[in-house]
């Protein structure tokens, strides 16, 4: 699982460098994200702007991370491409996650 980490204000930004988040990558994604679920921060912004395809296993992996987030630290989804945003909408996950168009939009809204 390729990713980049950066920090801005009280946010940790994790930018996935993969174009697909499917069943074959779900476990490694969760392994990567586990390191951030107990971070001392206000939000973890998951930038998925490079991801062009996600299946239900990939979505389930993101849900798993959400459930493990430490109280007080939010998981925010940023940069969903059209096919990925459609998947979030189809599965009603757009009602579960805080979603922003870009990581910059997300970090601007976190004090």
């Amino acid at each position: 699982m390729k990713f980049e980490e950066s920090r801005q204000g009280g946010c940790i930004i994790i930018r996935l460098l993969e174009t697909r988040l499917g069943a074959d990558k779900a476990a490694s994604f969760k392994d990567v994200m586990a390191a951030y679920t107990h971070s001392d921060c206000k939000a973890v912004v998951l930038d998925i702007s490079r991801v062009e395809f996600i299946d239900s296993s990939g979505l389930g992996a993101i849900l798993s991370v959400l459930k493990q987030m430490q109280h007080g630290c939010e998981l925010i989804i940023a940069g969903a491409t059209d096919p990925v945003a459609s998947m979030f909408k189809l599965t009603r996950m757009d009602r579960v996650f805080l979603m922003y168009k870009t990581a910059a939009d997300a970090t601007e809204r976190i004090p």
Binding site: S56, P83, R92, M93
Partner: protein, 149 residues
Amino acid sequence: MGSPQFTLTIESRLDSVHALAAMARRASESAGLSGDELNEVELCITEAANNAIKHAYLGESKFVVELVVTVLPDSIVFDLFDSGVSAEASIMEADRRHLLDVAPGSDGPEESGRGIAIMQSLMDSLEYIAGPRNRLRLTRRLPRSGKES
């Protein structure tokens, strides 16, 4: 002249599924689907193949999954075959689309179990025949036959 048909067989490995989905996408494009429709086909074939590998083959990689795509005048048919543990057709074909709703007041949405509901939502029909060689058939009507998107 017979209907155009495309076939691909992969090892039962999750990291091979994208090849099946890509083939389904190309066949669908040749049949006249486009844009979001192609994304939906790719997603459904991925979900179908993932299910076969995870549930029929219990995650073992020594088997095969075969996809046969047949382009008919008014529809495109995706037949996915595995030789693993059969599911019950009644369970496979029961309407599961309600599982895509987020239940209020629970511990939050389940992390798995949406694959069939997704296929049912995006395809025009889903049929499953259990046997020594299980067959999941997904059918999508083609635009010229009046598919509403």
